[in-house]
Structures are given as C-alpha cells and as structure tokens.
Chain length 231, copies 2
C-alpha cells in the first residue's frame, strides 16, 4: 500500500508533520535523535533530512548545532498567521470566483456535502474529529483551487496547516463547541453566486476561528511569546 516514488525520508517527514500538527509532538519540545530513531524507526541521516524539510516549513526550528525543536507557539504568531491568511485567502477566493468553471462549482458542492454529512453523523463533537478536519480542509481548498496560481495556493496551504495546529491545540482543552454549520453553507452559497460579499464572509470566518482559539486556549501559550518571533 506504498505510493510509488515514496521514499523513507518523505514518509517520516509526513508522519512527523502530522504529529506536529496534531500536537502529539508539543510546541517547544526538544527533538532528540535517539528518541526519534525509536519512534519512527529510521537512521540518523534519514531523520535529519525530514527535520531539514520541516525546518524549511517552519514547523520545527533548528538551533545551530544544538539540534531541533518543535516550533513554539504564541498569541502573536497566531495573530500574524491570521492576518496573512486573510490576505491570501481573500485573494485566491477572488481569483477563483473570477476563473471558476462548472467543474469547480461541482467540486465545491461535493466536498461540502461530504463534510456536512460527516458533521451530522458526528453531532456536536465533529470539531475534534480527525477525519472531519481533513474534509473541512478539502472544502476550503475546493473553494479556492480555481485561482490559477500555484504560488499563492502553496503559501495558502502552508498557512492553513500552521493555523490548524492552533485550532487543534485549543480543541484539546474544551469539551463543547457551538456549531456554526450555517456559516460554511452561507460562504459556499455566496461563492457560487459570485457575490463580492463572499470575501468578507471568509475573512470573518477566519478571524472568528482565531478569536475563539485565543479565548479558549490563549493562556496556554502566552509564556513563549518571545520565542516564536525568532522563527
């Protein structure tokens, strides 16, 4: 069941990436080779390659010849990330709405449907579900994937993932979530109708999520505000 052209290093990179984004490897945690070798069952050099990749993605930071550390978190970083996301997301959405064709619209409806179905099946707890997070990501990607700009899409995905780490962190420390199912629906409708307001809706969606995360989990990563600014 191994995808063609997949190398051990790229596999470790993916797994490690997942572990960081899902906070199984905690922000600020020191990454010691001996431990990682056990955990992922590969050699030094292979690990090192994976870490180099992650470091270029700013999910881990490399400290000279003093090893690697999981990228720290801070309110300032989350806010910075949020502003950058708003800028990019608005632009790729705007372009998508301009260029999008029938297939694009169909894909949006399809991925919304998948997300929505799982959401009703899971009830109030959907917010903590891994699979839902995947479908949620796919839905948002489908909205903007017609923008014809690989460069912007790449950066957008990058920021999306980093922000997702914060969302998941916060989800570990709360038990309920007031469902805003309608929000996604209204965003989709506005996008499909090419309403200019769609840009405002997506911006509000992003900012509200951030505010929510800070409200619930902000105190958890207030301490290392300073550390994150070196990234």
């Amino acid at each position: 069941m191994k995808t063609k052209g997949e190398t051990r290093a790229s596999d470790v990179h993916t797994r490690m990436r997942d572990d960081i984004l899902s906070c199984e490897l905690k922000p600020g945690e020191k990454l010691r080779f001996e431990g990682l070798k056990d955990r992922y069952d590969v050699s030094f050099s292979t690990l090192r390659e994976a870490l180099a990749r992650l470091s270029a993605e700013s999910l881990v930071v490399s400290e000279g010849q003093r090893g690697f550390v999981v990228a720290p978190v801070s309110v300032a970083d989350l806010e910075d990330l949020t502003n950058a996301r708003v800028l990019l997301e608005r632009e790729v959405l705007r372009l998508s709405m301009e260029y999008g064709d029938d297939k694009w619209e169909a894909d949006i409806l399809a991925s919304y449907h998948r997300m929505d179905r799982l959401q009703s099946r899971l009830g109030a707890h959907y917010y903590f579900d891994e699979e839902w997070a995947r479908l949620h990501g796919a839905f948002h990607r489908s909205l903007v994937c017609a923008c014809k700009s690989p460069v912007l899409l790449d950066m957008r995905l990058h920021l999306f993932d980093r922000a997702n780490r914060y969302r998941r962190m916060s989800s570990q420390f709360r038990t309920k979530w007031r469902p805003k199912d309608v929000e996604h629906k209204s965003i989709m409708d506005a996008v499909l109708d090419r309403e200019p307001d769609a840009l405002k809706l997506i911006e509000r969606h992003i900012r509200e999520t951030t505010e929510n995360v800070i409200e619930f989990a902000g105190h958890l990563f207030l301490q290392d505000e300073a550390a994150a600014s070196v990234a």
Copy 2:
C-alpha cells in the same frame, strides 16, 4: 571565519542556493550526487539534507526516488510569482508605512545611499553586479521591514529571491539597461512621506521589471512552461 552555529549542511545549502539563484546551476538541470559531492566537497547525507531544504523552498524539485532537479523556469511561473509579489509587497509596505518609526526611516535613507553610491560608481553596468543586487535587495527590505509581520516578511523574501533568479537570467542575455535611477528615489520619497501612491509605485516597479525580463529573455524559457506547473 566560520559563523557560530553554522553546520556543514547549512553551508552547502547556502552555497547551492546562491548557485541556483545566480543560474550557475541551470534551471531543469539534473543534480547528480557524484558531481555535487565533488563540487561542494561533502558526503551524500549532507548533500541530501541541503537538497531537502532547497526542495521545501521550491528551488529544486524532487522526483520520487529519481533524484533532484533544479526548479524549471517558465513565463507562467514568473507571472504567477509577480502577481503574488505585488499582493505581498503592497501589504507589507502599507503596514510599514503605518508602523514605521524614525529608525526605520533612517535605515531606508542609509540603504538607499549605499545602493545609489555603488550605482554611480558602476555606471550603466550596475544591473549585472552581484554586490549591487545585494544592496538593491537590502534597500527593498528596508522599505518593508517595519511591518511587524514575520510571516509576511518571510514569504516576501522567498518570492523576492525566486523572482531575482529570473532577473539574473535575463541579465546574462543583454548588454545594456536603461537606467531608471529616479524610480527608486521616487519610491523612497513617497514611502517616507507616507503617500498612499507609494503602493502604486512599488507595484509598477515590480511589474515593469517582470515585463522587461520577459521581453528580453522570455523566449529562453518558453519551452518548459508545462514542467513548472507541477512545482
């Protein structure tokens, strides 16, 4: 003369990066380990780590277990890059003009002066000079570095470098350049005066450079248009 905390891998990464940006390693070129081992005088694993970093920066692309290739170039990629740059550059400039203080203004004047002095010393050929390119980059950075957004600055620099590769490519294939010295001066003045028009000026500056590159060197990389879109 080795900077503290610099590892062999990061050194190779930097050198290789320079070689790619300066087109000493040509776009699309296959990167064979045996050859690189000679060129940079390091071992397999160390090379591999540098390549992994570069690949995450999309300066090289990795082809499954078929090795690495210098990222190809294309008109489409350059145009995509240019649009993304305009978006980011306008934003960081806007923010810088809002937050910038006295020190920021002083730094701008200083780096403009350095660039301008070298420019007059070099005459019409300044455009081909490595050192001028560095000072030019520093000047543009100084304009925007007060924006208080590490995330945006990071992405901006990334795009700036990638676009610079195109500029340098084109400079290899022309002998003269109509100097537009006044342009930088007028941008600087507008920025320091907090004129909203500065955003338009910077946008035009970026787009004109791109048009110029395409006009002079576009035909050189028209062939691999398709290849670049996989990046």
